[in-house]
Symmetry: C2
Subunit: 371 residues, 2 copies
């Protein structure tokens, strides 16, 4: 029997699904899938990085359960979230003669999950899919909630679909082999849940950060609490017409910085979010909304986790402020020309502000660049 430490139910009516969290779920996926989805065939989508450590664990379990599958292996990295790779995955699923009732398995981090989920959404106008997230970021954020997609030259995630998985299997042991920098980047999204509306969780993170990084039971608990938080938000607002936008705390600044650094290893997504959250707190403080000591506490916690917190922490030259502002304006969280930001009144008190003055943002960015 599979060892399941935590189960989070995402109650979305006929699109409802479970997130299972446990130490060895990749090996156990075959048995779980055979029981939950009898008679299906599988298309595994993964990347070259993940395939080495995790694919044999998954396929051994599928083989043991007698399941039939094909595998599509993609290059690793954010640039894989492209039109060309979408075509490659869709055509691969069709070549494997997978049918509408069959299942796509996304084995990997956020890139694989977003791309494979989008490919599942559009192949034969919608195949089912299962997320097997192997990074902390994917386990607490991208594998939950049904946002799938690829990047456009105009910006990140501008092309995609809302397509909920049928099941999420978060294997804790996969995190043991994760590059520490990737783990820290994922941790930025963990912190985000505290900053949005759960100051007690932020305090708990301050007390348990070391154990979360070293792999004690607090790690699984942190992941479960993040998934439960995200599930509540997604249930309330699946298509992001309202409160779901709170999950974008730090992301408008973060996406602009990611675009500016070419979605390269200069700045991982979670690192952009870390800087973005510090900027969102600082900007809210500048507007007289949030106390300065909260900004400091946020920055200190992220810094202790090994994350960048200032523009100056990004290696290399940043683009001009004009370029950053253009990237901010093109972010999809813009409505009718006014800038929408997630601002905050302090730790755990984020809110959506749809009337942010672009000049105030520009002035704040200019000042932050000088630091």
């Amino acid at each position: 029997m599979a060892q399941i430490d935590h189960t989070v139910h995402v109650a979305l009516g006929e699109r409802a699904y479970d997130i299972l969290i446990g130490p060895k779920l990749i090996e156990e996926a075959g048995a779980i899938l055979a029981e939950k989805f009898p008679g299906r065939r599988y298309g595994i989508v993964t990347d070259e990085m993940v395939a080495g450590a995790q694919l044999p664990r998954l396929t051994a379990g599928l083989d043991a359960a007698g399941l039939s599958y094909d595998t599509i292996v993609l290059p690793a990295g954010e640039s894989t979230k492209s039109y060309g790779m979408l075509e490659k995955v869709v055509e691969g699923l069709l070549s494997a003669k997978l049918e509408r009732g069959d299942l796509v398995i996304a084995l990997g981090g956020g890139v694989v999950g977003d791309l494979a989920g989008f490919a599942a959404a559009v192949t034969r106008r919608g195949m089912d899919f299962v997320q097997v997230p192997t990074s902390l970021l994917a386990q607490v954020d991208s594998s939950v909630g049904g946002k799938t997609g690829i990047n456009s030259p105009h910006g990140k995630n501008l092309v995609g679909a809302f397509h909920q998985p049928k099941l999420v299997l978060a294997d804790l042991s996969a995190l043991d082999t994760l590059d520490p920098r990737q783990f820290a980047a994922g941790y930025a999204e963990v912190v985000k849940y505290g900053l949005i509306d759960d100051p007690e969780f932020f305090e708990w993170l301050e007390a348990n950060r070391v154990e979360i990084f070293s792999g004690g039971p607090a790690r699984g608990e942190a992941i479960a609490r993040c998934c439960a938080h995200k599930a509540r938000v997604v249930i309330a607002d699946e298509k992001e017409t309202g409160v779901r936008a709170l999950l974008n705390l730090g992301h408008t600044f973060g996406h602009a910085l990611e675009k500016d650094t070419g979605y390269s290893s200069r700045l991982l997504h979670g690192e952009g979010v870390a800087i973005g959250m510090v900027l969102a707190h600082g900007f809210s403080n500048r507007l007289g909304l949030a106390p300065g000591q909260d900004s400091g506490r946020v920055a200190a916690h992220l810094q202790a986790a090994g994350l960048p917190t200032r523009l100056a922490d990004i290696p290399g030259e940043l683009g001009s402020t004009d370029e950053l502002m253009a990237a901010i304006a093109q972010d999809k969280k813009v409505s009718r020309g006014a800038l929408t930001f997630i601002l905050t009144r302090g730790i755990g008190q984020a809110f959506i502000e749809r009337q942010v003055d672009p000049q105030a943002v520009r002035a704040f960015l200019e000042e932050m660049r000088a630091k």
Copy 2:
């Protein structure tokens, strides 16, 4: 005020919309949209063929209503339903800085509607769109029901989304400039509605075919009845998990023939459907399900409308029976390896059969090729 001859409501809850049918709705679109969707911007997607006759009519109305829009013009023809053109439309919408709340207008036939609708479905994870169908096929079939998509080298419409329009404007005058061969091809889909479950409508078509082709009031009435029929089916089964498959009458054979002829002008979609419907009736007769006189009556009516009804009517050489069978097996209406066909017990008595023996299909095709 716009002259609206018929209104068909598609009652899909929060995705409900109206199909308006009238003589000059392209000119009147600007005024209608300004009233229904105040404050939106527009991205018009059309093709080079339609742009000549219809685009100035549309933009004049949008200009008069003071609406802001960008236009994306694509090459005409089925090969436009490709990954490359999807990227072109999505990037065009993003370049025009259209936002999630803005609207895509699909001005054209089925190709434009399917492609523009799919682009709307995936741009910023879902923009609204309006169908302005300019072919008979699009007015009675492809613009209604939310199926959008592109073609794969593996087959037609294998990549796409269910994405309902916010409004359909069927302009009858657009049909006056339609190539007669295209009009006849669209008429095959009109006949289909009678053949599925409405023998009285088939009889009415036999009596009114000449007026429908010459452009009298029966034309608008035929379109309205087809839209109402399709709306009922889509309301009952939006995602085609059941009865909606009946709308594929003639399409499994038809898609295989279209694939075999390279989606070229050798065989238009509606022409493939015409032959496919005759084959479906003939095959049902061969299985002892349907009376032979019904097959003859169907073939006679389609032939009188100028449509091909036999494999031998397709110009050029067809591929081997093996190739046709492979195309049939790859059609997305296949489930768990068994062939699914829409068969019939006679005119107006179609049904879904999920256990068709491939050998019987092969033998029937071999025989039909010899004719």
